[in-house]
């Protein structure tokens, strides 16, 4: 069709016109600031006065400052609570549920997914009440005669990080169960029957049939929850502000604190760049492992 090809070449600008509004907003408010972040991270600046070029000094500081290293360490601990634990529970629960069909699964799915749509600040406020010295958790422990276990959960050096982490487990587990169930219901029933004819028990069946089939869903679950763990901010800001001491500080909270409270703008930006690199590397590794079949 000669007519069409001329029209097409004559209107080569059309696709770009459709892209223009998105590129404008996206470019100005996201891409450009990313570029500026690379630049900011090479300077020492308090946010008001003159800035000094310091080369890579801010990055060196990220890897030497005890408090910042601690923050990254805490983020990795949170990966256990936000990703590893929910994945283990999710696989187990979905594996059990997948063996028999039950009525009302839709209702349970709605409930399990609910924490995903509630603002993290609301979740944090709720859990603060639960963990409070005279809150529901300590009240329950005392009622069960386990009063000696009661403690200020968000004011205890040893228990606060796990306590905050378990809130993440609460948020993520439903999502992971729903994801795993979605993957498992797609497995043809014959695969299980074949495994049973081979004399496989429930556990062997799970390892040989179920687990390989949900590899893609596992990758998605890990990607989503690991990113959530690494960029935890609202939860820490509302529950502990990094305390007691520095026992629950995380990279995002340090970025906020350094940039807007202590006036280390360059260093805060460098922490942001490092955090981004960590997120991208872990995402790439998880997807790489997931793609390999």
């Amino acid at each position: 069709m000669p007519g069409r090809s001329t029209r097409r070449s004559g209107r080569a600008w059309v696709p770009y016109a459709y892209l223009a509004p998105a590129l404008l907003v996206y470019g100005v408010f996201l891409l450009f600031p990313i570029g500026r972040a690379a630049q900011f991270s090479l300077f020492e600046w308090d946010g008001l006065g003159a800035s000094t070029f310091v080369g890579l000094d801010n990055y060196v500081t990220v890897f030497q400052d005890g408090r910042l290293l601690e923050a990254f360490g805490h983020a990795f601990v949170l990966i256990f609570f936000f990703s590893v634990l929910p994945l283990a529970i999710g696989l187990l629960v979905a594996g059990v549920l997948n063996r028999a069909q039950v009525k009302g699964l839709g209702f349970f799915r709605t409930v399990l997914f609910l924490p995903q749509v509630i603002a993290m600040v609301v979740v944090a406020v709720a859990w603060r009440q639960i963990y409070a010295p005279d809150g529901v958790l300590n009240g329950t422990l005392r009622a069960l005669g386990l009063g000696h276990l009661a403690r200020p959960w968000l004011g205890d050096y040893a228990f606060t990080l796990p306590a905050v982490g378990l809130v993440g487990t609460w948020v993520a587990t439903g999502l992971v169960i729903v994801l795993m169930l979605a993957g498992m219901t797609k497995i043809p029933r014959e695969h299980y029957e074949a495994a049973r004819l081979d004399g496989a028990g429930a556990f062997r069946e799970f390892l040989a049939v179920t687990l390989p089939a949900v590899r893609g869903e596992i990758t998605v679950a890990l990607t989503l929850t690991i990113i959530a763990a690494l960029k935890t901010f609202d939860l820490v800001y509302v529950t502990t502000r990094g305390g007691p001491g520095t026992s629950t500080t995380v990279p995002s909270y340090e970025i906020y604190r350094r940039a807007f409270e202590t006036g280390d703008v360059g260093l805060a930006t460098a922490v942001g760049v490092v955090l981004t690199a960590v997120v991208l590397v872990i995402t790439a590794v998880v997807n790489r492992i997931g793609d390999r079949s």
Partner: protein, 272 residues
Amino acid sequence: MKVSALERATNYVVLVFFALVVLGPIGVIVSLAFGPESASVAREGFALHVENFAEAWVVGRFGEYMTSSVIVAAIVVVIAVTCSILAGYAFGVMRFRGSGFLFALFLLGIMVPTEAFIVPLFFDMRSLGLTNTVWGVALPQAAMSIAFGTYWMRAYFRSASLSIIEAARLDGAGSFRILWQILVPIGRPAILTLVLLTFMWTWNEFLIPLVMSPSGTVRTAPLGLAFFQGQYTQGTALLAAGAVLVALPVVVLYIFLQRHFITGMIEGAVRE
């Protein structure tokens, strides 16, 4: 597959257990919200204290915060969804130079955390006088939603039947008419999902409004809640009532349109 009644019963036990684990903390905050505000009020006997919500609305200024949230969310949804439909259309059905590179650029925005650019963005916006304005709070969030939205709408336009587009083109319809009169009406479910997800992310967002409005002139609902918790250490009932108010709009939408939320968040995460 034959399964025993025992296995079926086990399933219900497991499901009920996890449902209770999820609903427990929600129940705690809801019951606190309806509870007595102080010990002296509690002595008057058991009652549902609905007035907590009215008081949180006015005294806790949640009415004000939620109005800010509605304005910010409306701006973000309109800008992000419109831009995403247009860009997704270009990526989904047109061939052009640089499309691969440009699309990769948008994918980058899905993966990069806010923390990567929020600090320089704040200082540049401050120089432009955009901090402490609704635009300062809304536009960065629109940019983030455009990254996901373009990806999401492209997937829809790719799945849309090429024969429909071809037929319309032969009828002499231009690309703009094909988009607004044919593809957008058919794509309403995909667009509704995008609207809902964008609304939810914007409504629940914390870091961007916190940073972009340091003076608190544009305080969205989650920020108001965090601020309220810091200010009033005594009023647990009002705090809980405020928390319920903040969560309610998204939860109500979720209850009625849960399929969109669940498929959107799950399918949206499954990269090609």
